[in-house]
Amino acid sequence: MRRLLTLHAFLVYLFLYLPILVIVALSFNESRRGVRFTGFTLDWYRALFQDPRVLEYFLNTLVVAFVSTLVATLLGTLLAVGLVRYRFPGKGFLSYLLYIPVVVPDVVMGVSLLLLFAVAREVLGFPRLSLLTVILGHITFQVAFVTLVVRSRLLLLDPALEEAARDLGARGWQTFFHVTLPLAWPGVAAGAFLALTLSLDDFVVTFFTAGPGATTLPLYIYSSVKLGVSPKVHALSTLIIGLSAFFLALGYALGRRRV
């Protein structure tokens, strides 16, 4: 039984890593077409770094990810605090609203944002589809995730700690900055990390909300796949895989140090 489980696990891990290994191998492959290995080369990496467009898409991706993560983390953390601490009219409704971006398929989310921007253009004259609309779309799904992550962290906190701060004469904002926020910090960091990952990975919402000049790396990969791939995309994918591995390993190492 144990042997069977081990074999099964081994096969599943093989299934998980085989596609990634194929892409990495092909990024060093001389042959332009097909999946047969003909010899080792670094030409595709050279071609990638000499392509000014790829750099532009890379910067677009980073700008979208960092700006949206910053805004969403701020809004989501505040919203989580408000939802946990206070009673107010419409609280239940707002909690339901939070789940919509989490459960609704991203196609639906993408087209509803597209429709919103189109109607806003008719009525207000803006926004044109651009990098800005992509950022607005990303913040929208990120806020929901950040709020839920931070809220679950806040619900775990001991209310006695805040009471103690108040008993010692702390004002509302002092309690918040000296007690609540430091205690909730792991939740905020986890929420921000999740938001960043979701933004870097997002294709669908970006696809529907991006205008000309707002191409991100996922959009570039998609159009290359649709139009016939140059092995440059393999090189780019390998770099992305390497970076993801690096950051995940970093988070993993930091997490182990804390425990």
């Binding site: 039984m1 489980l5 081990t6 099964h8 696990a9 891990y13 299934f15 998980l16 085989l18 596609p19 990634i20 194929v22 892409i23 097909g34 999946v35 047969r36 989501g76 505040l78 919203l79 408000g82 206070y86 107010f88 419409g90 707002l94 609203l97 939070l98 789940y99 919509i100 459960v103 609704v104 398929p105 991203d106 196609v107 639906v108 087209v111 509803s112 944002l113 429709l115 919103l116 913040i139 929208t140 839920l148 679950s152 805040e162 108040r166 509302g172 309690t175 870097l200 990975d201 294709f203 669908v204 990969i221 998609y222 796949v225 994918s237 992305i240 895989i241 993801s244 390993a249 993993y252």
Partner: protein
């Protein structure tokens, strides 16, 4: 924070904390949802603009066989992807949870998952090509080459590959909380291994199984990217139809009706899940 505060102070605090995020959700989640609902009752003008007449005609159009078939295919992909994720993921969750280096194994499970979604789908396109490695292997075994791409099978395979961690993680959380004493008790009472598992272990993992199924089923039936890249027009799911209406076809009202339909279906699935699991189950999903 609340006792000493006047009503005005309290209102101000709610406004500062809930205000910005709440306003954002109303503007960018509630409003677009209402607009989609509204648009689904309108008609398409000659230039793809939204005009009258109002009516249910877009919903009537949904019942045409070609669209019903896409809907059936979406459900089929969702159900099969969930089934195969369970087949691969359920034993794996046990293996990881019982392993001394489980954090490393979890790390290795999540690593492919953190590489861009499109790259993961595209990798299967490479693997399944006529001259690709999978066909080379099948050829060596005397079974191929087969036309694996584009096909329904390719779509299913890549869907399972893409969403597998969604299934493993909730099951893993269930296994971690398992009370193994029940299993020992079952053995002490003379149960055979299979029976002992079915009665003492499986029921304890139902929450994880249900959560994992929902987390795979919904994105699997709702995605358009996998079918777009690996089905190459042969596999059309609801998501692909929606994308077409807002893209090439420019029939936004019909696309909106499809979206409302898909949203309704997702909410119904979640409602059934909540009935199975109780309120807490929904909170566990996130």
């Amino acid at each position: 924070m609340n006792e000493a505060a006047t009503p005005w102070q309290r209102a101000f605090r709610v406004l500062v904390t809930v205000g910005p995020g709440g306003l954002w959700l109303v503007l960018f989640v509630l409003l677009p949802t209402l607009l989609v609902l509204l648009a689904s009752f309108l008609s398409r003008g000659p230039y793809g603009e939204l005009t009258g007449p109002w009516g249910f005609h877009n919903y009537a159009k949904l019942l045409r066989p070609v669209y019903l078939e896409a809907f059936a295919q979406s459900i089929l992909v969702g159900v099969l992807a969930t089934f195969f994720s369970a087949l691969l993921g359920y034993p794996l969750a046990f293996y990881i949870a019982r392993h001394p280096r489980r954090d490393l194994l979890l790390f290795l499970l999540l690593l492919p998952f953190l590489t861009n979604f499109l790259i993961r789908v595209y990798a299967w396109l490479l693997l399944l090509q006529r001259e690709g490695p999978v066909n080379a292997l099948l050829g060596a075994l005397g079974l191929g080459p087969l036309a694996l791409y584009p096909s329904f099978l390719a779509v299913l395979l890549a869907t399972v590959y893409t969403f597998l961690p969604f299934f493993v993680l909730p099951v893993y959380a269930s296994v971690e909380r398992l009370d193994w004493q029940l299993l020992e008790a079952a053995y002490d009472l003379g149960a055979r291994p299979v029976k002992a598992f079915l009665h003492a272990v499986l029921p304890q993992t139902y929450p994880g199984l249900f959560a994992g199924s929902v987390l795979v089923f919904i994105p699997a039936m709702g995605t358009f990217v996998v079918a777009d890249l690996l089905g190459a027009g042969r596999v059309v799911l609801i998501g692909n139809l929606i994308q077409q209406q807002f893209g090439i076809t420019r029939d936004w009202p019909f696309g909106a009706a499809l979206s409302v339909f898909l949203m309704g279906f997702v909410l119904l699935s979640l409602y059934l899940y909540a009935r199975l699991q109780g309120e807490r189950g929904l909170k566990d999903l996130v």
